[in-house]
Every structure is written in C-alpha cells, then in structure tokens.
Symmetry: C2
Subunit: 214 residues, 2 copies
C-alpha cells in the first residue's frame, strides 16, 4: 500500500534504529530505503517494574529509539525525516521471553512454548521533526499476535537448538526460517512475529507522509 508514496519516501532521510537483520530485511521487502543507526540503549529495564509485558516493551522501544533521536538531534548535521525504532517480546502467562542466554535456556524456553499459545508483541516508535520543544513528534503503537506452537518432542527441540537458529531470537525460534515448521498457526500480523508489523507501519506512514500527487 506504500506504492503511491514510495518515491516521495525514498527521497527522504530515514533512519532505522535497530541492528536486527530481520527488520532490515523487512524494510527491503517493502522497498523502503533506510540508514541503519543502532541504539546504544542498554535494554536493561527491570521487568519487575512493569505491570504487563506490553508496558515493558513499550518503554524499551521508546528508550531505544530516543537514545538515537537525542544523539542525532544534538548533532550539527541534517536531522532525519523519520527515525524508526522497535522492540519485540515473546510472552506466555505474563512471563517475558527475550533472546536465550545459552543452549539450555533455549531448550527450556522452547519446552515452555511447545504445544501452547504464546503472544508476540512489538512496539514501534516513529519520530518525525516538528517545530517546538521537543523539536520532534513521537508516534508509537504496538501490535500483538497470537502464535500456536505445535507439540514438539525433546529430540525435536534439542536438534533445532543445535542449528543455532534460536540463539539471537526473542522466544528462541525463527518463524521465517527452520522454525517455520514449529508453528501451527497464528492470529494477527505475521510480520510482527518476525519483529516488525508492516501493515500498521504502512498505515502510519500514509498519515505522516500523505500522498501529495493524488
């Protein structure tokens, strides 16, 4: 749905404040050209301080993005027309699962998710320049997708973990890779499960950068 404004968008300076190779791939998939500037935010918020996983991911995404915003806005060079930030968590029964810390941790996370329904929540932060103080506007939204994982044997879990695929992924699986066979279905936005919900993102872009040629 971005085709009418894609030419206009690609004449702008757009920053993706994320090191995730999956988010970079998704931007390429929809034809959006971004410069990648990773956030230096440490992602060390205490989960216990938040009432819900949604509150936690919302604040983490905001902090990650604002670190990049504050850095770029304090420089003399030209300000980006759009800075995109995001954070994704996997959650089950109120517990938050991020990237596994070890082989054993990955096995225990996948054993928890096996045969049940978990949720994937991504919070997206879009920052555009504005006159005033602060000199920018923050648009933030979150997307929740239910994911149903099939019943997996211990041997399936261990041999999947041994592919190394789980190690850099929230929840310990990659739905877009070998892990695709583990997932029996989802309810909601698929790209959110990869790490970035494309449809709501495109809708926000259409509002932030209206089609001037129409």
């Amino acid at each position: 749905m971005l085709q009418p404004i894609l030419h206009q968008l690609n004449s702008k300076y757009i920053v993706l404040a994320s090191t995730s190779p999956r988010r970079k791939m998704l931007m390429e998939q929809i034809g959006l050209k971004c410069k990648i500037i990773p956030s230096n935010f440490e992602e060390n918020l205490r989960k216990e301080d938040f009432k819900t996983p949604l509150d936690y991911v919302t604040e983490t995404a905001r902090q990650k993005t604002l670190e990049v915003v504050n850095r770029l806005y304090s420089e003399k060079s030209s300000r980006p027309d759009l800075i995109i930030g995001a954070d994704t968590v996997v959650t089950l029964d109120g517990e938050i699962f991020e990237k596994p810390k070890s082989r054993d941790h990955a096995i225990s996370v996948l054993s928890r998710l096996s045969g049940s329904t978990h949720n994937v929540i991504t919070s997206v932060v879009l920052v555009t320049p504005e006159t005033g103080d602060p000199p920018f506007k923050i648009t933030q939204f979150s997307t929740n997708t239910e994911v149903w994982m099939g019943e997996l044997s211990q041997r399936m879990i261990e041999s999947y973990v041994d592919t190394q695929e789980p190690m850099d992924k929230a929840g310990g699986y990659g739905i877009q890779a070998l892990g695709s066979t583990l997932i029996s279905g989802i309810k909601g936005d698929y790209f959110n499960v990869i790490g970035f919900p494309l449809h709501p993102f495109a809708k926000e872009l259409c509002k932030l950068f209206p089609d001037t040629s129409a």
Copy 2:
C-alpha cells in the same frame, strides 16, 4: 521439527511437482532437497462442477500430482521416495480467485478483497511407493487460512498492480513481498498463504519417515 529426520530425508529421492518459485523457496527454507518436475496437467477443471472451493482445489492438486506420478512410475528409472504436489486457491463468498488474467482483472480482484476477509486453501498431495496396485500410497490434506486485507484506495491498488507483482499469484497479491503491507492479519498457517503449509507438511513427513535413530 524436521531436524531429527532431515539427514535421512535428504538421502532420499524427493520430487516437487510444482513450478511455483515460492514452493521451491519454502522447501529450501526448511532444508529439504527436492528435484523439481513440473506437472503437465492443464488445470482446466470446470469450477462449476464442484460444490465448494475445497473440492475444486483438492481435485486439482490430485490431478496435477498424479500426472507426474503416472509419468515417473511408468519410466524404467528409479521411483521417487516421495512426490510432493499442491494447489492453492483464494476464495471469497464461494468464488475462486486464481492468477489474474490481465491488469484490469488484477485490479478488480484486489478491489473485491480490499477491506474484507478471504480464505486461502492449499491442498497438499504426498505420494510414496508401496507394494500393491497401485504401487503407491496417496496422503492428501488441506489447510485453510483466513486473511484480512486492509482497506485500500483505488490508487493504492492500481500502483500495486503496476509493480507486476500480482500477475503470477492466486488472488493477485504476494504476502511475502510488496503485498505484505496490504494484509492486516491472518488466522491460521502463514506459509499456506504463500502456497504451502509447512507445519502440517512436516508432521506428515514425521509419520511417513519415522525417526529411526531415536
């Protein structure tokens, strides 16, 4: 979930009876090595002869696959350990949408799907050798996924069609490509919407080729 039997599977002669580049890509994604042998079946069954879209796609998938099976089983050379066939349709209110025939047809299909929920049905056929007559066993199953398309403007539809992406795809969109922004959500198997449901396929493979090392 195929890791425990993947080595065993990749020592076998597996045929994918489909020319779809998306199905080939999905097999590669899960690490399964297949030889591609396209079906010569004409796909000209009369839709009016079938009570439901499911009946139609089931019979089309079966005929497409059996054409390849009959050809390969009549040859002197070694028979495949597994022949995989499939057909996918997009359906809304009982109507079946296959590949668009023209630019105008693609626009009219997308205008119908815009802002509503359609279904994607794939029927998968797995053929393995067996002693007896016929000398093979057919395993067939189908998967249905609900797909919610966002509300699209005429200009969004036309400019998307002009990328040419819709032309070789059932329903006139590619969920895994530029079309990803059009889809607000799904309920069910995501890979089914691309053209091949991976989780139920992997489950069937685990039954047909049990893990002998466990």
